[in-house]
Every structure is written in C-alpha cells, then in structure tokens.
Amino acid sequence: MASRGITITTKKAIITSKSALILNHDKFLPPTNIINEYPHDDVLRMCYRRHMRLKPFISQRSMIQTTYVDYVRYKYKNEDYPKKCRTSGMGHDLPVNSVLQQAELSLRFCLQAVMYVKKGVPDESSVSREIRLSRNMLKNILAIEHEKAKLIAQNPRQNYPILRETFSYISPTAHKSSLLLRFNALREFDMCLIGFNMCMGTKL
C-alpha cells in the first residue's frame, strides 16, 4: 500500500486510512460455470443475492444504498427489458444474449465497480482504469435512477407509465410531444445504456 496513515490488518480485511479492503471474495463471486450447472431460477436467485450483498460496497450513504437496492429489484422483478429495447429501435439483427448470461455479466460489472487492485503490480494501471470507469458509470446509473424515482414521485399517474411501463420517453418519436421532450436527458442516457448493453452483453 502506498497510502500513508495507519493500516490495521484483521483476518478478513486490510483497513487503511481510505478504505476497508476485503480479502475474502467467495461470498460475492458467481460460481464458475454457473449457467450450465444450476437450474434457471436458481441462477437468477444467486445473481440477485450477490447483487444485494454488494450493497455496502456501493456507497456509505443509506440513500444511495436504497437507490441501488430499488434499482436491482426493479431490474429483476418488474422491468420488461426486451420491450424497452424494441421501443428504442437501436438494434436490428442482434443476437440477444440469454437472460442468464445477461444477469451474470451485469453482476460482473457491479463487481468490477467495487474492486481495488494493489498498486504497483504489473498491468495495474489499465485494470484500475477499467475499474474507475465502471465505478463512475454505476454511480451515474444510480443518479439517473434517483432522478427517475423523483419524477415518478412528483406525478405517479402520469410519469410511471411513461418511465416504467410503456417506455414511450425513449421512442424515436418522443421529440414530437412536448410532454416527452421533458425527459430528453433521461432518454439520451438510456439510449446510450441500451447501446452499451448491446455491445457488452449486460443488462443494466
């Protein structure tokens, strides 16, 4: 560790002046070859549970933790992701990953966002850059989720169907209605996110 200050080492973690670095990862990682070895529902449940275990890693603040939990729950239980993709009109002939693959890769994305690589080991800078990028992205996704939740709380009857059910805010004709034009920032963000998911095979 290059950082100054006291370092306390316990059996499970190294605590520096900046962060608590957890050494044992087994609880958080998906088992190898998870998709082929477990039944469909169990894989989803395992990924969901591991997502939830990452909650204290995402942020120290309870508000952001709640946003994260709500986001993951919505993603697993309510969202009609294929419909969202269809409404956006982004992909044509894309081979869609299976739901399980998407779930596993999304979990890997979240894991990547909470990693820390020891300073000075070979390849450290490139891996750290990837980690930093994914961390920033996860933070931005949560911020946008918070904005959506705020908009829904303001006017649930109008905004909930737009943002969560019909996804009309994301459609290519959204700019024609002045109501949907208000969601322009959310629309662009989600279009980029869908593009990202298509490139990476995740489902964020």
Binding site: I8, T10, K11, K12, A13, I15, S17, K18, S19, A20, L21, I22, H25, F28, F57, Q60, G89, M90, G91, H92, L94, P95, R108, L111, Q112, V114, M115, Y116, K118, V121, D123, E124, V127, R129, E130, I131, L133, S134, N136, M137, I141, A143, H175, S178, L181, F183, N184, A185, L186, E188, F189, C192, L193, G195, F196, M198, C199, M200, G201, T202
Partner: protein, 279 residues
C-alpha cells in the same frame, strides 16, 4: 442519632460496600471483537481487494470499457441540465459559456457579455449546461435567462443582471450546427486519410454509413464476434450535408473508437443535436 454516631455509620457502610463489590469476570476471547472484526466498525468505504491484476481482469467484463463509445459517454461527470432540470453526464449536454462580447460585431453595444455554446469541453470561464437537443433549445429559448451560470450570479466583483448580456437563441440552431459541421468535415477528412494510409491494426468497432433507411445511431451484429459482440453504426445521412456525403461516398467506413475518439464523439453530438429537427 448523634453526629459522631451518624458519621461512624456512614463510614462503616462505605467500608462494607467496598467488601461486597463484584469482581468483573475475565473475557473469554483474547482480543476484543472491536479489533478482530475492525472492518465492520472502521466506517471506511469497502472494496474487494486483489493483489493480482490478472485475477481482477478475469472477474471483470470480457471487453474493455475504455474502447466503447457508449461507456465513454456514460462515464463523464454529472451536470445539471438547465432546461429540463435533470442531471445528466456532461458529454450528453452542451456547455454554455459566459464570455465578453465582441463589441464590434455585437448588435447592442450596451451589453458587454454574451452566452455562447462551445463544442469542445473547456475549463475556463463560467459555465452552465443545457440539453443537446435543437427542439428543446428552440422551444425554451424564451427562458434563456435561466441558462446564466450560477457563479456569475454569486460574484462579488461584478453584478451581472439581465440587461448586461446578449443571448441569441438563433446562434444555437445555426452557428452551433455550423461550427459542429465545420469541425466534423475537417476531422472526417483527416481520419479518412489516416484510415487509407495506415494498414488495419486494430478492429473497427464503429462504422460510419450514409443510409437514409437506417436510424441515426444503432447497433448491429459484429462480423468478428470473438473480438467484439456488436459494432456501433453512426448514420451520417440525417446531417444532410453534401460535403460529408461526398466524403463517405456510400461506403461503410470502419473506425476504431480508441484511435478516433474525438471524431466519434463529435458525430454522436451532432446526431443527437439534430435528431429532432430532421424528421
């Protein structure tokens, strides 16, 4: 009871109290859990620690985020969009700068400042952000007073009020697009020369096309699925610029995002800005 007697009784009770004091039992564990499980109480942000970069790489996503255009757009820091009052990554917004007006060129000489958009992200001058959408800007141009950077309002040195600066929403639709187009032409032609001269080293994850039937930004299946899962199609047709169309010349131009980062972001910016007015 007399006074000495009361004192004596008091002393006796104190002494006897001392005799009956409970002895604390010795804790069964060697060190306190406060110390042995210190990570629970440290209050520091938690992270998964790995001593090996290869191990971390294996856990991460298979393809890199730094070479993906969407990741680049989504990771930029969040800023408040002054028009819709929603926060968004700043790469998806337009920077508006408060700057000194060009006195000779300006229409109204009594106004020493002007608000202008910039196409590159710069650090100097007071800045605010607005949506990168021509329809929104056009619609809300009457309330452009709200786009004034807040640092200008809080300044002690000079009070800037409504009468002091010029805004012309027309610049937004014309000058801004013109400026974007100008730099797009320049960047595109230099990139084309570069692509033609240099032999292909890395795979192209971005394809520029000019096809009226495709949407402006879309994703399609990659020809080399082992390297990247999908390629991003940027359709230059909505730009409606003859010079750009001539440059593309109905070809499919493959670019790699890591090499032509600024060009790809520029095209994205222009397409997103014009997405609404062309149809």
């Amino acid at each position: 009871m007399s006074k000495p007697n009361a004192l004596k009784g008091c002393l006796e009770s104190l002494v006897s109290l001392e005799k009956t004091t409970r002895q604390p039992s010795k804790p069964s564990c060697g060190t306190s859990p406060l110390i042995s499980n210190f990570e629970k109480w440290s209050g520091k942000p938690r992270k998964l620690y790995s001593r090996d970069a290869q191990y971390a790489k294996k856990l991460c996503l298979p393809s890199g985020l730094s070479s993906n255009i969407f990741a680049q757009l989504l990771t930029s820091p969040m800023r408040l969009d002054r028009i819709t009052r929603v926060r968004a990554p700043k790469e998806l917004l337009v920077q508006v700068k408060l700057r000194k007006a060009d006195i000779e060129a300006s229409v109204d000489r009594s106004k020493p400042f002007e608000l202008r958009p910039t196409i590159r992200m710069e650090r100097e001058l007071p800045t605010s952000y607005v949506s990168n959408s021509s329809a929104l800007v056009h619609k809300r141009s009457s309330s452009d007073m709200k786009w004034l950077p807040s640092s200008a309002n809080n300044s002690n040195i000079r009070q800037i009020n409504q009468a002091d600066f010029v805004t012309q929403p027309e610049w937004y639709l014309q000058d801004y697009t013109k400026e974007l187009l100008g730099s797009l032409r320049k960047a595109l032609s230099s990139a084309l020369i570069h692509v033609e001269q240099e032999p292909r080293k890395s795979h192209g994850d971005i394809v520029l096309v000019c096809n009226p039937r495709l949407p402006a930004i879309s994703v399609r299946k990659s020809k080399k699925p082992s390297v990247v899962l999908a390629t991003t199609l940027l359709n230059l047709d909505p730009v409606k610029d003859p010079e750009v169309e001539k440059l593309v010349n109905n070809r499919e131009i493959e670019l790699s995002f890591s090499e032509h980062q600024s060009l790809c972001l520029l095209i994205y910016r222009l397409l997103a800005f014009q997405a609404d007015c062309t149809k």
